[in-house]
């Protein structure tokens, strides 16, 4: 306890956190802008008639045309974070608006978005505008060039968790011994210059699988250790650019690359800030007050408590899948929010059948009447989507005047190149099951075994 107290009182240079804040804000602004310019707001949040909700967040829905305002709010708050103007309000607004956007439809769930949400949350509690910010310039009483050391360490820890857990998740027989799903994905990149033919080679699939696993597990330690840091950072750049070239993963590689800068020591960050200062003619020296930022005792208690609880959850949450029976990749119970990135090639087909037991009348549902192709694709292999959609169909057809109907699904799912097999018990009326965090007994058992974590 004494040591912890000592640690919490240690201070360090504020520059790395300032650089992190600037790059994070800019990256987020660019992401929102890109999202808008790609027409995805319309396509993903305005056009669909139905949205898949996270359990407990059914009240979070797109706001019609006001959804654009939400994105504007999110983009502007990201910019305010970048320049450090009214930072506390800006980062809270950013966290809330971004998280709201992500909660609107789980069809678009990506680990990257979750990462951004929790970084946003953590940053609410960090004094990221103490240095090199508009806030610090406008109010010298709030300008500090030293901050508690744990503030920077917490970001390193979060990045470390993301990488390390992503590495742990790769310790399974499909990834390591069948080179799946890379064996499916890489050959389809046959038209890459020079690499196209290599992508067809089986040893390449294994080389990519194993080096990817080792990279994820080891990179946090290489970044922490001063002697390997530069080498590790080069690896970070290479790895993420490679994934950018091979897979459609948007802004994420760039976000991870700039985030990894946090591992470098303060002089590097001062150089970056000097460069920015020259660019925008900022008198950087003004910020070097030598002042030390300290939380008031009461605040410190609350904030370290919140941050401590946050990390405890981060460390434990990915293991919740152990509470469920059956194969995780198959049931996906406890799959999300656990840094299980690029682990599966999974596809499905779900044909819903509505039955009126009173009249014996039965018919299939044309999914395209209710879902976008993207939603249908995501729904077809994820049980929580299937049950939610089944209830939606039940309501829909009851509103259309059908009486006491039942909803069944004929669904097939293929996982990591295995032949498709029936996924949901076709004989159960899905309306008899409420969506919940409990194990979904209507999922049929997986015909194979995937060993490992």
């Amino acid at each position: 306890m004494d040591q912890l107290g000592k640690y919490l009182n240690k201070t360090t240079d504020a520059a790395p956190l300032a650089v992190f804040r600037i790059f994070f804000g800019i990256m987020m602004f660019a992401s929102i802008l890109r999202f808008w310019l790609n027409g995805w707001i319309e396509k993903l949040y305005i056009a669909p008639k139905f949205f898949f909700s996270y359990y407990g967040f059914e009240w979070v829905k797109p706001l019609g045309d006001f959804t654009y305002l939400l994105f504007i709010l999110c983009g502007l708050s990201a910019l305010m974070v970048a320049i450090g103007y009214k930072y506390r309000i800006a980062i809270i607004l950013f966290f809330l608006s971004f998280t709201y956007i992500e909660l609107m439809d789980k069809t678009t769930y990506l680990n990257h978005y979750y990462f951004i949400s929790i970084v946003g949350f953590l940053m609410i509690f960090l004094p990221a505008s103490s240095y090199f910010s508009f806030d610090a310039r406008n109010n010298p009483a709030k300008a500090f060039s030293k901050i508690p050391r744990w503030c920077i360490d917490s970001l390193k820890l979060l990045l470390g968790i993301v990488y390390f857990y992503a590495g742990l998740a790769k310790l399974n027989s499909d990834w390591l011994f069948r080179a799946m799903p890379l064996k499916i994905w890489l050959p389809s990149k046959y038209d890459l210059p020079l690499l196209g033919n290599l992508m067809q080679q089986e040893w390449m699939h294994f080389a990519f699988s194993w080096s990817g696993m080792l990279y994820d597990l080891l990179i946090p330690f290489f970044l922490l250790w001063k002697r390997t840091r530069i080498f590790a950072f080069v690896l970070v750049v290479v790895f993420h650019i490679l994934t950018r070239v091979l897979f459609p993963i948007g802004m994420f590689p760039y976000i991870m690359i700039v985030s990894a800068l946090i591992f470098f020591s303060a002089p590097v960050h001062h150089k970056i800030l000097q460069f920015i200062s020259r660019l925008f003619k900022i008198e950087k020296i003004k910020f070097d007050t030598g002042g030390v930022f300290r939380f008031s005792e009461s605040r410190k208690k609350i904030i370290t408590g919140v941050v401590g609880a946050f990390f405890l959850i981060q460390l434990l949450f990915p293991w919740r899948y152990l509470l469920y029976p059956n194969e995780l990749f198959w049931t996906e119970e406890g799959f999300r929010f656990s840094w299980r990135v690029m682990l599966m090639e999974k596809a499905g087909y779900a044909q819903f059948k509505v039955v009126d037991p009173d009249t014996g009348r039965r018919f299939y549902v044309d999914n395209s009447k209710f879902l976008t192709p993207f939603q249908e694709k995501q729904m077809s292999f994820q049980p929580d989507f299937i049950i939610e959609y089944a209830h939606f169909l039940g309501e829909h057809f009851k509103d259309e005047g059908y009486g006491n109907i039942e909803v069944y699904v004929d669904s097939y799912v293929a996982l990591n190149g295995r032949k498709s097999q029936q996924y949901i018990n076709p004989d159960v009326n899905l309306l008899n099951f409420a969506n919940s965090f409990r194990h979904k007994t209507f999922i049929l058992p997986f015909n194979d075994e995937i060993k490992g974590l």
Binding site: L44, I184, S188, L195
Partner: protein
């Protein structure tokens, strides 16, 4: 570790140096050394040996159809009507060999919708003929033209030949009937000419040259169309809707070629056969085969353990054909007398949809949707 990541790093640097962000429209086809599958060759086989000859053949069928229609319009008689009906049947069968190729010009034109939206809207057709004013180029008139409209006009106006002929000879609107009939025929031929011309012209090279692996590459685009055709047009259109699979109420009026005698099953069988032949890379009107999905899956399967997908898919096509043997020559009367058979046909087709849409597309690493959103 260092060694592996060293290799990885060098590879990546080379790659980054060589790759550009711009979409790669026309990359040289991958060289066909022993360990790769040449998609360019597959596209060439599709175009040169299947699609282009099929359209060329269909073009001559619609040409015939137009000239037989004109002959009938010049001289409406029972004899010329029979000749027209033969041309109609030939063309409708041939259409089943091209309907799945809704890409390029056909896609732009909405070709399939103009040629074969059924059931025909008989009431609208009657009304437009009566008024004498119509515009077949409007998308709202899909169900008033093409094969289903022709079917109605030459088979469905009356129950006997004499009754039908009367509309073209003695009816007060007979001139309107004749010109509507001719306009429908002409439009089918001119639309087909446009599509055929584009394949004879630049589009063949555009199609074959676009070997990109992105979602805009020919293989990805076409495969999406092909599977969509099988699911929506063949399974749902020819069997599902008449059988009432989506409503619970059998609807015989939704069968293809509703007014023709014992014709719908021939069309269904021809469509299944064409899709299967395409899958196997079988050249149009020939027993020779070239590269197609089957060969591609064999190549990919050779690297993967597990089920032999390429064989399963072909076997399922055969199962569909086998089931079709038990269907009535008229799917309309099949729906009316024993709809269970129709639903059985639907189930067999459904199994193939799963194999194509889930297993094959996964094996080929082609994504089913066109949404270009980010992945993990």
């Amino acid at each position: 570790m260092k060694k592996i990541s060293g290799i990885l790093m060098i590879l990546a640097l080379v790659l980054v140096a060589c790759s550009k962000d711009e979409p790669t429209g026309t990359v040289d086809p991958v060289d066909s050394s022993k360990n790769s599958f040449d998609r360019g060759e597959m596209l060439a086989n599709w175009a040169d040996n299947i699609i282009v000859p099929a359209f060329k053949n269909f073009k001559s069928s619609t040409q015939q159809l137009e000239s037989k229609t004109s002959a009938f319009v010049q001289d409406p008689s029972e004899a010329s009507l029979e000749v027209l009906r033969v041309a109609f049947r030939t063309a409708y069968i041939d259409f089943q060999t091209v309907s799945m190729f809704e890409i390029g010009k056909a896609d732009q034109l909405n070709y399939r919708n103009y040629l074969n939206t059924y059931p025909a809207n008989a009431a609208n057709i009657d009304q437009k003929i009566a008024s004498g004013s119509y515009n077949l180029e409007l998308p709202s008139s899909f169900s008033e033209q093409g094969f289903p409209a022709l079917d109605y006009l030459i088979n469905g106006l009356g129950s006997t030949n004499a009754e039908i002929l009367a509309f073209y000879t003695s009816d007060q609107n007979s001139a309107n009937y004749l010109s509507y009939l001719e306009d429908v025929s002409k439009r089918m031929n001119s639309l087909t000419k446009e599509v055929n011309d584009s394949w004879q012209g630049d589009f063949r090279d555009t199609f074959v040259g676009n070997t990109s692996s992105s979602s805009t590459g020919s293989v990805d685009r076409f495969t999406n169309d092909y599977v969509m055709y099988f699911e929506k047009i063949l399974r749902s259109g020819k069997i599902g809707y008449p059988a009432g699979a989506f409503t619970g109420e059998p609807s015989p009026q939704n069968t293809e070629a509703y007014y023709s005698n014992n014709f719908s099953k021939i069309l269904y069988s021809k469509a299944v056969e064409s899709v299967q032949d395409f899958y196997n890379g079988k050249h149009f009107n020939s027993n020779q085969t070239g590269k197609s999905y089957k060969q591609y899956l064999d190549y990919l399967d050779s690297m993967k353990d597990g089920a032999n997908l390429s064989v399963l898919i072909d076997a399922q096509f055969n199962a569909i054909k086998e089931q079709a043997a038990s269907l009535d020559a008229s799917l309309k009367s099949q729906v009316e007398t024993n709809n269970t058979r129709m639903l059985e046909a639907f189930d067999e087709l459904q199994k193939e949809v799963i194999l194509l849409k889930v297993d094959m597309m996964q094996a080929l690493s082609i994504s089913v949707d066109y949404v270009d959103s980010d992945g993990d």
